[in-house]
Amino acid sequence: MVSDKRAQHFDLVVVGAGPAGLAAARAAAVARFSVALIDENPHPGGQIWRRDICDATSKKNQIVDLRRRELDRLGVQIFCGVTVVGGAHDQELGGAHDQMLGASQTRSLGAAQSHRLFLSRGDEAMVLSCERLVLATGARERFLPFEGWTRPGVFGTGGLQALVNNGFDIKGKRIVVAGTGPLLIAVAAAFQEAGAAVQAIVEQVSAHHVRRLGVGLWKRPAKLVQAFGYMRSLAKIRRVYDAWPLKALGQDKLESVVLRTVTGRQALSCDLLACGFGLVPEIRLARYLGCEDRLGSLKVDDNQETSVAGIFAAGEPCGIGGLDCALVEGEIAGLAAVGRIAAAAKLHAKRDKEREFAKQLEATFALRDELKEMSQPRTLICRCEDVTRGELDGFTSVREAKLATRAGMGTCQARVCGPALQFLYGWPEEQARLPLAPISMASFGVYAAATAKQKDRHNDGL
């Protein structure tokens, strides 16, 4: 099954339809450039504005609907449910681009090189080419393994929230939320709203650290309102600081979680455990396209341009920064990508302030070393291939460990175990290869037609 419009060209392609991507698409479209916005999920919104099926008129849904209507009016093409398989810079494919699209295509941005993305949607495949790219690929959660974390009923924090958004009924369920960072508060509040009984919020940093951040919030009224909003709805929920999970126990389903606390081990009965230790910038596609990073965050200049000319990035991929940061960086990226440098410059100060706050958050919720003891030799580190901590000790790089144990060779392509291996052993994540995500074999036929014709002149002879 092949999509009719297999190859399309835009001035700008924005990857990721979360807050940053929506902002970037809008900024560029307002400036009258042709824009495509792509996302893997069925609806725009990313994580923080993930579509709430249960409450159609929720604030989040309204925000996204509003933005979407505006983008539709501005002629932005939105492609949902697509996965990015790979990409290329045009000089590699030499001329196929122009031939594929016909000579009438004008290059409105005068790019020295253009970019191409190979996309897949089920069995369908598509190639999008563009002069400029904005990567607004967000972040993913960092999961730290502990005994029993693979048991059904244990979820990531954002993960359980996403499932609840889609209609997972948690009324009356006893939930423990554990890990680190402001996300714990946000999801705990959401779970309460959905009728669950949140048993505790278990935070690895000390109360003192979090209070210090609270003091800093005086400088930022908007965030204070946000924080107080949460505080009220969470007032009754027990907070445990300096604590983290050690074991998730149960027979067929989760029944309890054992915590490490300052006063010793404590067991909490629960039906569900939502657990996540912060966020990690999602930069696989960026690195694949050659963008440089520093310790896992993309390097960008004042105008959000990466080390690759014509590729911009905004929001979490540049360092975990939160919603407001994503919005302003998205706007800067969208403007700068289409040459509206003066307009972009006006937003620099606001962006810098947001990044400053982001740094404070990062420092507050830094992972403590003791978390390395969460996993035991028998604890599974790679969930896809069932590789334990004990099997991984003794290697000196991800590559070596991978070849010997198959850790990281599974379906998730090391997205889950990668950050854990980095935290436990200091191994940096490997460069990703095409395909950037698992895709169906059926879709390859389209790429063969769409990309190989000009380059490869050999006949298979059948």
Partner: protein, 87 residues
């Protein structure tokens, strides 16, 4: 959210009919039915959705005989046949 959510059509899971909605993913459907066993792990044991956003692939199920899909990224459709417990 008030009361019972209205279901629209049937989806078959391991041969059994479950009432589903078109805006639900397979993950939502199975979890709401208390079905927490999605796939079998390499060294035994069962797995269920974990990351919830399509990254971990723990929620893999087989649809229409041969297709392995992520339950959390696959919407329900009328007559879909789903098998759990695969690898």
């Amino acid at each position: 959210m008030s009361g019972r959510v209205e279901r629209e059509f049937e989806v078959f899971v391991d041969g059994r009919p479950f009432a589903a909605r078109s805006d639900w993913t397979l993950a939502t459907l199975l979890l709401n039915e208390g079905h927490f066993q999605f796939r079998r792990a390499v060294k035994g044991g069962t797995r269920a959705p974990f990351c919830g956003v399509g990254i971990c692939h723990e929620c893999r199920v087989v649809v229409d005989d041969f297709r392995t899909v992520r339950a959390c990224m696959t919407l329900c459709r009328p007559g879909l046949e789903v098998r759990t417990g695969g690898e």
